[in-house]
Symmetry: C2
Subunit: 401 residues, 2 copies
């Protein structure tokens, strides 16, 4: 392994990870367990929605044309032909200047093409005064206006949110085809690491990465499998990596934090497979490693937690999204105005933490190794590799955490 | 119950729900189960972070002042005083024009206040040529620069995301104080409803709300408890509501969809407690009910799924957030430029679905009852009650789903 890394651009690192990420097979889960999972295949409507032309208000079904010009002063006059009960149909079509009362969700009678809300009418015996005109289709959902039977309602690759769950219910998709959740092995290396239960002595730090990476992996639809702290010893690390590779769909290693340790990780990955990238033009996060052992992708993150987290968000995410089959927008980018100048070195992408308020992105300067700016920030902005910095007032995209 | 609702502004409906929402008690959960939960009390650092001044790169610890003016042409010359191993300390302070090699994460020797990256040096015997100046603190994290022991690192009311989980690990918070997850009873009413397993006949629709509401409730840190479809029969509904109130911390009812049904819901809530709001100046969603049975808040949503979902997002969310104790920003608002005119009636808040791309919000016009615009949209924009509409080019805030 070379002392100086051969650094590749962020886009190349992402493309390499995307190629390694094989989409998991699919499985079916009950609808109430499908929330946040990724659809494995398109879902189609098994029925027309609505299955019948229905009113969306309580009111009088009419022919819209008959209400033209109706107002408070000169209402339009209709003859009431009775009421339609919920779920009931009628043999009596609505004719000119006729109306029928229909409840919200009720079936519209033949002839009618709109509903006047009951609040905009007055009843006089069997005469109904309509005080406001309605247009064709007003307060009505027509037969299959929302979805036609057989049409695609949700596309493969979409992460399912609450409204999607509702739609799955509407089309009777009770066993939902989703991608299997990839198992992601997590290894923390470094002689300086102690468990979270221990009190670090001078020179020691707690193992933050195992927890932050596990939570991130979980949030991205994968199952974290943690292997704890592995000492900077080739034999121990070799055994841990081999075990993780055999048990998981991908492996994420963080640290050790010294050059020698990084070389250990890269060397052992090379022994068991192949190192594809060792060094990325990103700050923080330069010593990132991308490799594979057999078909199992291996991502090596920097040991420092703040750097590891940024690389995980910017680059590692693509591995997870690729494996879960996610194709819908996975990241929320918010445009904002930069409150301060951000200097940057040319030739690397800088990811600078910002707080975001009222459309203003304020950089949280300070060392990239700080955890406090990580939790105080709302996200990061990207300073492109070809740029020497961004000026106050520039419009930037904030990549929200 | 009156035929015409007494309509209150959205802000009043939200304030009423907020008052009803009692924050749940707290419990402690293991750190790896704390992800997405809401912190019940402030978390403080149990140690200084870092606990020692450490290098964040592999390189030479120096006195920064001695590197002034160093460059490729005229490097600064340092005498190497050896290497510091990971976790090791040294009795030899770094003096003028002296340096010591220190690995990433290693303890900085006394006297040094910066580290020159190894890539910016050249080694000649025991002489080190430094080709780039460093400033005080560069490539170093000072003792307790990130967090001081005893200081608050995360505040109560925050939803825990991946980086927060990492920070909890850093401060040894292995049993995390979080609010208990409220149990939310979910009742769907309406004679027209059939289960998702059935094929709706004319006049019938599947029970979408149970699933969409359960997923939303779950996404907001609560535990959904579903009571299925309840027919529009006062005795049956009375029994279902009483059971839900006795078993849950709050109850959300949707539908039935006709005026008579709504009145049934309000009447039965009034029998078992109190109706506080019946009608909100919001479109869609006017017939919303807010009440309580004993100390249990009850929210009545419109029966139509698309309307129910909007009310849940805009108003109901405050009930859930209040009960989970969430105080951090819960909604992502993205500024955007409106692509088309949006007409609106004065006197009510309109929530119009939009798709969002490259800072442009395009309204998805169409009836508010459609599910397809709900899943095709990225969020909604709010047209204030005092406005008669918004013009093309206006800057709007998109409330993301």
């Amino acid at each position: 392994m070379s002392l100086f890394l051969h650094v590749v651009p962020v886009t190349e690192a992402i493309a390499t990870l995307r190629q390694l990420a094989e989409r998991r097979q699919s499985e079916r889960v009950p609808i109430h367990e499908s929330f946040h999972r990724v659809l494995a295949s398109d879902v189609r409507a098994d029925v027309d929605i609505p299955g019948f032309t229905r009113s969306v208000v309580d009111g009088y079904a009419v022919r819209a044309a008959d209400t033209t010009g109706a107002g408070d002063a000169i209402p339009a006059l209709f003859t009431s032909r009775g009421r339609i009960a919920m779920g009931a149909t009628t043999d009596h079509p609505v004719g000119a200047a006729e109306c029928m009362y229909v409840p919200t969700g009720g079936i519209l009678p033949e002839g009618a093409d709109a509903v006047v809300m009951v609040e905009q009418t007055e009843l006089f015996g069997d005469q109904v005064l309509v005080k406001k005109p309605v247009s064709h289709g007003e307060n009505v959902l027509f037969y299959n206006e929302d979805f036609a039977q057989g049409g695609i309602v949700l596309m493969a690759g979409r992460r399912l949110f609450a409204q999607d769950t509702g739609l799955l219910a509407a089309v009777g998709c009770v066993q939902v085809p989703v991608t299997r959740q990839p198992r992601i092995g997590i290894i923390s290396t470094g002689n300086e690491l102690v468990t979270v239960n221990e009190r670090p002595r001078t020179g020691q730090v707690r193992d933050v990465n195992t927890y932050a990476i596990a939570a991130y992996v979980q949030d991205h639809g994968c199952v974290p499998v943690t292997y704890g702290i592995i000492q900077d010893d080739r034999d121990i690390f070799r055994a841990a990596l081999a075990r993780a590779v055999s048990e998981c769909d991908a492996v994420i290693i963080s640290g050790g934090s010294s050059k020698d340790d990084r070389d250990m990780a890269a060397a052992v990955i090379a022994e068991q497979g192949q190192v594809l990238v060792h060094g990325v033009a990103i700050a923080p996060g330069k010593p990132t490693i991308i490799g594979r052992c057999g078909k199992v992708p291996v991502l090596g993150l920097p040991g420092h937690p703040a750097s590891a987290f940024v690389v995980l968000c910017v680059i590692g995410r693509h591995l997870l999204d690729g494996m879960t089959g996610l194709t819908s927008a996975a990241v929320i980018m918010v445009p904002a105005t930069l409150a301060l100048n951000v200097p940057s070195a040319k030739g690397r992408e800088d990811y600078v933490r910002v707080s975001l308020k009222d459309g203003i992105a304020t950089p949280l300067f300070g060392k990239s190794g700080l955890l406090n700016t990580l939790v105080r920030s709302d996200g990061v902005i990207r300073v492109p590799a070809e740029s020497e910095g961004l000026e106050t007032g520039t419009t930037v995209e904030v990549y929200l955490w």
